[in-house]
Symmetry: C2
Subunit: 338 residues, 2 copies
Amino acid sequence: MPQNKQIHLDNRPVGEAVASNFKLVHGETPPLQAGQVLVRHHFLSLDPYMRGRMNDAKSYAQPQALGQTMGGGTVGEVIESRNAKFAVGDKVVGMGGWQQYSVVDADQPGALRKVDTTHIPLSAYLGAVGMPGVTAWYGLVKIIEPKAGQTMVVSAATGAVGSAFAALSKARGCRTVGIAGGPEKCKYAVDELGFDVCIDYKLHKDANSLSKALKDACPTGVDGYFENVGGMVLDAVLLRMNAFGRIAVCGMIAGYNGAPLPMTYPALILMNRLKVEGFIVSEHMEVWPDALKELGTLVASGKLRARESVAQGLEAAPEAFLGLLKGKNFGKQLVKLI
Amino acid sequence: MPQNKQIHLDNRPVGEAVASNFKLVHGETPPLQAGQVLVRHHFLSLDPYMRGRMNDAKSYAQPQALGQTMGGGTVGEVIESRNAKFAVGDKVVGMGGWQQYSVVDADQPGALRKVDTTHIPLSAYLGAVGMPGVTAWYGLVKIIEPKAGQTMVVSAATGAVGSAFAALSKARGCRTVGIAGGPEKCKYAVDELGFDVCIDYKLHKDANSLSKALKDACPTGVDGYFENVGGMVLDAVLLRMNAFGRIAVCGMIAGYNGAPLPMTYPALILMNRLKVEGFIVSEHMEVWPDALKELGTLVASGKLRARESVAQGLEAAPEAFLGLLKGKNFGKQLVKLI
């Protein structure tokens, strides 16, 4: 049995999450039972939703249990199998968590999925062709319902979700405007991700200033907004929404690490007859096949080339995760485990 | 030609609206052109949306022009007609404005509608069987989409919209909880309007306190919320919304008269996967026939007995309107003009 390293949630954050909330634990993988497979993880996905689970509060996800391995999406390779549907060498995606190996009851629906790496790199199944990609797809297609010629805006534009959103929005003939932090990310958004314009929110000290920049970037107003951050950015975009605009609320990362951030002008929801809808992609499994098909085609054809930030080794996961919460990552944040 | 009295918007409010924003003007009604009818107004409707129109700001309604008669819904009687479709003596509903008489181009679609007062009092066409009733109907039926056994909450519960909402919600088998200001309104909501419970928001100094009262009143949480007021009440209800709850945003009267009121915890939209949707009933004329049919039946059968606050005489309209903005009315606010 291989030696395994895991990262547990040791204690819950008080305010900002810190490295000492996590604990590295050494162990062994247990022997396989019938139906199980042993997966060696190649990549671990780090995602903002994990911050919410670190709190012991009512939220959409169950709180992460203390003293247990942090949950998280993983891609890897089957290295031992007692399940007829999986063979040694199969590339798989699952929820293996913050550890090097996982033992999976592979007959459980949704527990493990074989993936084809002929045209799509394995790590993309944690990003553009995985949960973040489907998240962008659901928010755009099912909530925002874009029409060609309309203007779409997404915050955290160079992240895994924002990257996929740009490709999906451009494919539908929409003007596509990103909001990101720093000139490097904004240049990348336009040069590589296909955004028509990307606004650097760090150049703006308040929502009114950012809103003026949005007015220039969106001369006919904003019809659809995909919200990843909340706070000042949400306030600024709300000021530019057109009548009957739609806002898909996927994340509010700006408020995850401390005091909740208010929405300054909720009356705009009424004045502009907006629809504001929160969602979690894991509750809409019915769209995954359609979404993954479109996203896989975009990646395989080179139309969606999402950037990755890769931390090396399980020990690097906590710092990489804390950086993600502060926007230090550039593209999909992964941890390479091999 | 009869002498006419009108109330004009003389100047725009700076912050709170005041009586001196209005001006009483005397005049004569002009002679009728072909196709026109002269209507003597029996009742003028006063509604919160009028406050928004007094500002010269981007909003859903065109700003009220200065030096012109304030717009508003009216019911009355045709006293002179040069239109074959309308006869002297017909009871009609229209948008006659803050004046005693109006000359109407009766061939314009939607300008004037004949109503039957056999089983429904004329004034009800400005309330339960008019714009406020249809507003409640649209928010409940089209946005909230209630299911029997779910819990519905409405603020400004004893107003024209809230009264209709209660009857419509109870007819659909929902637990129906009101929020209103003061013990008299709350007692009336339960005794006369059919609310299961009504909470007096004036007993609560902040959103957390009001939210605790809501927890008792809604033991299984809140599935649908019809928002008329905003501010602390919205914050309190948001804390009690169930997963996949729906909020129909019809009004935010608490913020109309001064600084905009924030939404304290917008992250709840995500955590509970809420849909929050603003609407204006005049943009959904397609639902009026169905809605008016149900509302008319509820009124004619005595199941919806909405209370009215009636101010006497056109001169009383400004003070009655300013009182409405502060919740001083009890039920539908009307001005009797005959």
